[in-house]
């Protein structure tokens, strides 16, 4: 059972300490350092595997996943606007968060599959990168139309050269060039410590998620429901796409997880600057305070069962 996995326990520990209003916080520099290590590790792993892959096989998945990144926010938007009765910019901004992905959730899924010895398609870290872009574009256009005011050049620079994308891509390239043997001398940090680093990262994420709970209370039940139900819907879409693409069970589960996860770093930053009239507290509190915990504790094992079920059809 996943909830006994110490990594998840660290998250629950942080969440509990945060809700009890403990003073515990990791220093921001440490939290950032852990993020850097996780992103490089994931990149390296992906890169090593990618080297074994014929490039042509990537075209289909890349195209499909990109499409998914465009479509999911387009589904979320009307729900938020008409059912949730959010203002247009808020609905657009929240929708954008759910079209993108959370690297923390991806890392937990990686650890979960590895602890169960389940393989998945090696290009998955590439998909994380690819999913960063479309949702942000859709979010901006939903909020303002194709406005002249948006500085597209600067925006694309900020997305494509943001910390997350750069570290993932850099890690992948290094893994790809150096190969499994070349990476061995640095494996003790990037691979052997991966799960412990992820555990510390989740401790802090739990503390941060807890700090979102009070904002959630203010914005009512709809957001909580949306933060659980929309990921479940997205997971079905992602899992089904995985099956269509002929992915393995592990890959299907991964794509479901990516679909179900919501961004809490790249998208909030981009939205703050491009759609400033959207209230940032709304989107972050649901993405970080509801969906992230849900995916870590309940979602990931569920998506694996779902993938198993899909493949047994």
């Amino acid at each position: 059972m996943t909830s006994l996995d110490p990594i998840v326990l660290f998250f629950i520990f942080g969440l509990t300490a945060g809700i009890l209003r403990s003073e515990l916080r990791l220093p921001p520099a440490i939290y950032e350092g852990l993020t850097v290590l996780l992103l490089i590790s994931i990149g390296l792993k992906g890169g090593i595997e990618l080297a074994k892959q014929p490039f042509a096989e990537l075209v289909g998945p890349i195209f499909t996943v990109m499409l998914m990144g465009f479509l999911l926010p387009l589904v979320a938007y009307p729900v938020l606007l008409y059912v949730g009765r959010f203002k247009r910019p808020d609905a657009a901004s929240i929708a954008a968060h759910y079209g993108s992905v959370s690297v923390g959730t991806f890392a937990v899924a990686v650890a979960y599959l590895s602890s169960q010895d389940i393989n998945y398609e090696s290009y998955m870290s590439l998909m994380v990168v690819i999913l960063e872009v479309p949702a942000i574009l859709v979010g901006i256009i939903l909020a303002r139309g194709i406005s002249r005011e948006t500085r597209w050049g600067r925006l694309s620079h900020e997305i494509l050269l943001g910390k997350g994308v750069v570290l993932l891509v850099g890690g992948m390239l290094i893994g790809w060039v150096a190969g499994p043997e070349g990476v061995e001398p640095i494996a003790p940090l990037f691979f052997d410590l991966f799960k412990a680093i992820l555990a510390l990262f989740l401790l802090e994420m739990g503390l941060i998620a807890a700090s979102q709970v009070s904002s959630l209370r203010r914005y009512g039940l709809f957001l909580v429901g949306f933060g659980i139900l929309f990921p479940l819907f997205s997971a079905v879409v992602g899992g089904w796409l995985g099956l269509m693409l002929g992915m393995s069970t592990g890959g299907t589960m991964m794509l479901a997880t990516l679909a179900a996860s919501g961004s809490y770093i790249a998208v909030p930053a981009a939205m703050r600057l491009t759609v400033p009239e959207a209230n940032p507290t709304l989107s972050i509190s649901v993405s970080l305070g509801v969906t992230f915990p849900f995916n870590i504790v309940v979602g990931i094992p569920l998506y694996l069962q779902f993938a198993n079920w899909l493949h047994s059809l």
Binding site: I208, S211, A269, P276, E277, P280, I284
Partner: protein, 101 residues
Amino acid sequence: MSTATTRKLVTIITESALEHNLVDDFGRLGARGYTITNARGKGHRGVRDADWSTSSNIRVEVICGEQVAETIVAYLQKHYYKDYAMIIFMTDVEVMRSKKF
């Protein structure tokens, strides 16, 4: 201290997310320099405690002539006041080497 002259010190406390934008703006609006420190605080938009990337503040100081000060304040009010956590206050300061500002 014979060289002392009066200039305006404009202090802006706002969201870290705006740092790049402000720096660009200052250049265009005629400020010769600026100084930034990290901060946390509370105001009408609630507590901003720097605990999470979107909730940290910066404290920006610009020393400039009255003209430029007015331009900057007007520009910031127009472009950022509505959507961002931001306060601005001004005071007179004596500066040395007045040509620098």
